[in-house]
């Protein structure tokens, strides 16, 4: 392991990789700060550009962008009470009151420091836990793996399903059905290709990703109309009256809160289906419960800014634990990053740790470096934060529309991919309108082939006997857990209704 880490350091520390991370972080902060543009959308648009780059450089750039965007979302939450990304919503509770008190700079630097510490904490957990978990994962057979995928799917569908379990299931199994398009992996017979040769290789991930996440979201934003965020707000600070930053003494008093929230974020980030929004709110809630001044929460408490920021950023590293060790994406951002791994020929899963350990350690090191870089480059951006977040969307969206098309074309130089991208943009738009989650659809689309391969392998082992899934203890336990997650979700929803 130590030799792989040493090699990882050698790969990571070169000018282009560090430059790539810095560029990704910068882009992430800027795009995350603009309300309506999310980190996942930014990554989806960036993947085609990184298609021709070295895998370490491109994935570290994308991870940098993801990390930057999670922090960037807090800027507009603090300055305008409008979260740039959904996970920054809890930051606005205390960030905006601080801004109104003329302490915007203090709130922004608190958010930055908490984000960097929280993120570094979860990256370290990823760094040290990935190899042991992958070694355990290597020992499980196809029946256990298929049940593990099923378990992840049910958890994602029941927890991440925006309004109901049924809708989560509809999105999940539609994603699985779409993943079966193309040649059958074993018999190579055509499935749902409708005589189109372009569909033989199945629906490619990248056009689907861009259409479903980026273009459909742009359509929705356009439908909402172009209002400059700043026009809706009352008093907004100018750069001059943002006050002073976070002092060392304040930082020391905030450290317990930051580490508690970072632990919450790391644990929740490693569990499929929960994600950074829940982590941020739970971190905020726990900080309020354990604070000496809970009455200050909602009125401009620094703990109220540090806790959600540490928690939501801690999800970034932990999100990758199930991806690199089991090949299972637990959230939308993890699914998009997993897509980036796959586009570059690195198939996430336990074998990845065996086949490319140095590359993975290089990525982990670059993730840690991204945090340090974020701390340095975010400070000058704070000075121009207001200009970034109040950018006119009418000017911004036309180039993004064009970029979606070119991005879908550029990955494989295929016009067919552009058409697929457009179709999935419409699908994503309709899904969002009827409250079906495109995130669950995407995760299931990625998990579909894994589920199918493991089921088929299990059936080959058992000679077509389906009881193989219920006669092995781990497989049976995972199946029961899947059932339990569905039952628990139904029960939870019934209790919340009453």
């Amino acid at each position: 392991m130590s030799s792989h880490i040493a090699k990882g350091f050698a790969i990571a520390f070169n000018f282009s990789n560090l430059g790539g991370v810095a560029f990704g972080v910068f882009l992430g902060i800027v795009l995350g700060a603009i309300p309506g543009l999310t980190g996942t959308m930014a990554i989806a648009l960036l993947i085609p550009l990184t298609y021709y780059m070295d895998p370490v450089l491109s994935i570290s750039l994308l991870i940098g962008c993801y990390k930057g965007s999670v922090y960037g979302g807090s800027m507009s939450a603090i300055l305008l009470n409008t979260p740039g990304t959904p996970e920054a919503a809890a930051t606005a509770f205390d960030g905006y009151p601080l801004t109104l008190q003329g302490k915007a700079k203090k709130a922004l630097t608190t958010a930055l420091t908490a984000s960097v510490i929280g993120d570094s904490f979860s990256d370290l957990v990823l760094f040290f836990s990935a190899m042991p978990i992958a070694l355990i994962a290597l020992k499980i057979g196809p029946p256990e793996y298929s049940m593990l995928v099923l378990f992840s799917l049910t958890i994602v569908a029941s927890l991440a399903g925006s309004s109901s379990l049924l809708k989560g299931m509809i999105a999940a199994f539609s994603g699985i059905l779409v993943s079966t398009v193309g040649l059958d992996p074993i018999t190579t017979s055509r499935r749902f290709t409708f005589g189109l040769v372009d569909l033989d290789r199945g629906i490619k991930l990248l056009p689907l990703l861009i259409g479903l996440l980026a273009l459909s979201e742009i359509f929705l934003q356009i439908e909402q109309g172009f209002k400059r965020e700043r026009e809706n707000m009352g008093k907004v600070p100018t750069v001059e009256d943002q006050g002073e930053g976070l002092t060392k003494r304040e930082l020391v008093t905030l450290l317990p809160t930051i580490f508690r929230s970072a632990s919450i974020g790391t644990i929740l980030g490693a569990i499929p289906g929960i994600g950074s929004i829940t982590a941020a709110f739970l971190g905020y809630d726990q900080a309020k419960r354990s604070s000496k001044h809970p009455e200050m929460f909602g009125k401009g408490s620094l703990e109220g800014v540090a806790a959600p920021e540490a928690a939501n950023n801690a999800v970034c590293g932990a999100n990758l634990i199930p991806v690199v060790t089991l090949g299972i994406p637990g959230s939308l951002s993890a699914a998009v990053l997993m897509g980036a791994f796959m586009v570059h020929g690195l198939m996430p899963g336990p074998m990845l740790m065996q086949e490319h350990p140095s590359t993975l350690y290089a990525l982990f090191i670059l993730m840690l470096m991204a945090n340090a870089i974020m701390y340095v480059i975010a400070r000058p951006i704070l000075k121009v934060a207001l200009h970034i977040i109040s950018i006119d969307k009418a000017k911004l969206f036309p180039p993004i529309l064009i970029f979606c098309g070119i991005g879908a074309y550029g990955s494989d130089l295929s016009f067919f991919d552009m058409k697929i991208m457009f179709i999935f943009a419409l699908v994503g738009y309709v899904m969002k309108k009827v409250d079906l989650s495109p995130a669950i659809f995407l995760i299931s689309f990625i998990l579909g082939p894994l589920l199918e391969n493991s089921i088929r392998q299990s059936l080959i082992i058992s000679g077509g006997d389906f009881t193989i899934f219920f006669t092995r203890p781990i497989s049976l336990a995972l199946f029961l857990l899947s059932l339990a997650s569905v039952v628990w979700s139904l029960k939870k929803r019934n209790t919340t209704k009453v």
Partner: protein, 182 residues
Amino acid sequence: MIRCFRHIDHTSLRFLARMNINRRDLSNFRKEKRRETVVGMCVVCFAVANFVWLIPRFVGRIGSPETYLPLLATSILLIVGLLQSLSAFLKKTNGKQSMTAAPSVKKSWANLMFAMGISFVYCFFLETFGFLALTPVCLVSTWLFFGVRKLKTIVLTTIILVIGIYLLFEFGLRAPLPKWHL
């Protein structure tokens, strides 16, 4: 008959008014209920079409190994779709539930239709017109339609973007962009 229905409607409205539910909430509730039922029915129709036509015609003989996953997914979709439409259809308001009244947001349908149209044209006709011809037209027309009126900014940004993307793809990424094919 109509009077009878009117009477029922008025009675139910009075009853709802007693429970602090106004006409707008009721209308939103009905709209949502209808939408949820339609979603479920669409899923059921899709699943049935899959069973009777798509899977046998475009996948293989029902029961063969290549149909395992499509059949499994379709069966679950059928069940879930039925449950969805049934649960939406049987949904009742009991006054305790807070019915989510959709916030009245002024929607820009014209902008949306234009954006969809431009995306369609760009995705389906880039092959014919080429990057250098189609991109400036799409960019400028979208900006103008969205209400951006500073011509100098539009022209400059268009030139910078088109040349920037062209150089990036042609020379940076070595991925040739489509040329004019008319």
